[in-house]
Every structure is written in structure tokens, then in C-alpha cells.
Symmetry: C2
Subunit: 145 residues, 2 copies
DNA sequence: GTCGCTGCAAAGTATTTGCATAGCC
DNA sequence: GGCTATGCAAATACTTTGCAGCGAC
């Protein structure tokens, strides 16, 4: 699979550019998140990593996922419920969040976010990212209510 | 002041409609959040309430703010950093969130969210609310980096 | 060789839960 | 009067921090 080495390359370059070190843990965590291919908690990433590379700790996973978010290679999804989720997708998309069970699903829909981004810049924000969050009840929770 | 009694009335009606009880604590918490007039944590609401009505506890504040969110009389703002914030504004608006310090500011900008809401409904979500979240660095944190 | 990164353990913070009592309906 | 909501305290869940050793550069 060429995907994994591309991931490694992208992360390696991003780390070097910032003067950070390229460690096996960071590469493994990045690969694990992207192999999972969906929103994942730090715990889930740790389990996935541990299957392949022993001796990785949860604090390192948290630190690395945070780092990936800063580097723009992953994104912290703020579910507002339960543990934080990390999203391997970095292309523009949106999220639906269930207020009952915390489930998060991707939404692909064209939305013109420029007005909101401009408003943020107008308030002095150095805006890095914008997305729509739809909240409500997921199909399962809605059927139970 | 008529504002306070309007708040009480709205909450009272919403509670009765769901068969919930109207208690002094709930009224006081609702008034406190709206008097603060900005995103506030449960602790801040508790302090505000305690100045006026003694004997209100933090668990009750959490439960009531959650209830207000369900009733649509306030909104939980998911800052993704630090304690949860509750927003007395329920009219359509958006948020800018600082990824460094967690600061949250309101954004008033016209954005057509329908495509995202429809996408959520297409996935079985009973969508209740949609908003744009812009993340980045606030003016203060940006100037420090 | 230096300094950043890591693992481990422990602390800290935010929020929820259990249970007995009070008070709304 | 019944049953929900509350207060208190404790538990839980998640995430971060401190420190000593290791390893990338």
C-alpha cells in the first residue's frame, strides 16, 4: 500500500518544517488514525497502534493527535459529549452530532462559509478552519424517543 | 423589568408542556444565564444565582442548563476546550473558537445552512439546530505567537 | 552530545450519579 | 400524597502534568 508511506512523508515534512522530531510513535499514530478512516477517540487510536507497535502510551497519543491537529493532518472534532474525537479527513466537510448518544457522522454538502470566516477575521481571529455542525437526534436515538 | 418575567413565562410554559416541574431553582438559573448575557460556564451561572438565591447546587445547575438546551431556551456551546459553555442566545448565529485559549465569540453572518441540514436529515437525523464554527487563533493569542 | 519526546504514574478538572429529603402539582 | 427535583457527597471519565530515561538529529 502506497498510502501509508505517503502519510509518513507528509507528516515527516510537516514535522521537520516546524523543527519537531520524527519519531516512530508519531508515524504510527498518524497511520493508525488514517487506517481507522473514521472519527476515533484517543483510546481507539492507542488500541490500533498497540496491535502493531508495542510501548506507546495514552499521553503520547493525546499529544500526537493534538500535534496532528495543529499541523492540519487531522482534526479534533468537538462532539461536546464523551471523549474527544479525531478525524482523519481534512478536506472540507461537515458534521452531524447526536445530542443523546454523541454519535458523529460526516456530512458532505456544499455550504458557503465565507461570510462566517470573514466575520471571524473582522474580529481579529486568525481563522484556520470552518465547518457546519448540525445537532439533533441520530436515527437510532430518534426512533427510541 | 419585564425581561425577567418574560423569561419566567417562557420557561414555565415550556416546562409544563413537557410535564416537568417549575421550581425556583430552574427559574433562577434561567434568569441568571440570560442576565449574564454571554457564554457562561455552569460555575459562573452558579455564582450568579447564589448571589440572589441561596442553596442552589452545581449538579442542579448542570441539570437545568442541560434542560434549557433541550427546551431550546439556551444552547450548549461546544468549545472543545475547558468547561462547557452555555449560550443564552437562541437566534441564529455562529461561533469563533480560539484553539489556544478556548475563547468563544459570537459571529453574526448570513450563511445558508440548508444543504447541511438536508444532508443530516438524509442520514436519519432529526436535526434541531445548525451553526458554523470557525476555529483558529483569537486576536490576543495570534499576537502572542 | 543535546534537547525534545516518551512512558509511567499521578494529579487535576469537569461532569454525573446515588441516595435521602423537600416541595411542586 | 405521590413523585420529581434537589442538595450533598462521592464517583467517574477524560485529559494533562511531572519526572527520569531514551533516542532523534
Amino acid at each position: 500500500m502506497t498510502g501509508a508511506s505517503q502519510l509518513d512523508t507528509r507528516l515527516t515534512e510537516a514535522l521537520r518544517e516546524r523543527g519537531n522530531r520524527v519519531t516512530p510513535q508519531r508515524l504510527a499514530i498518524n497511520r493508525a488514525l488514517h487506517r481507522l478512516g473514521r472519527h476515533a477517540t484517543a483510546e481507539e487510536v492507542l488500541r490500533r497502534v498497540s496491535n502493531r507497535v508495542p510501548g506507546v502510551s495514552l499521553p503520547t497519543v493525546y499529544a500526537t493527535l493534538e500535534l496532528l491537529d495543529e499541523l492540519g493532518l487531522a482534526r479534533r472534532v468537538t462532539a461536546g459529549e464523551g471523549p474527544a474525537l479525531f478525524d482523519p479527513r481534512t478536506d472540507p466537510h461537515h458534521h452531524a452530532v447526536c445530542r443523546r448518544c454523541g454519535r458523529v457522522e460526516d456530512l458532505d454538502a456544499p455550504v458557503r462559509l465565507d461570510p462566517a470566516v470573514r466575520a471571524a477575521r473582522g474580529r481579529g481571529f486568525r481563522a484556520a478552519h470552518a465547518e457546519v455542525t448540525v445537532s439533533g437526534l441520530c436515527a437510532r436515538c430518534a426512533s427510541k424517543s
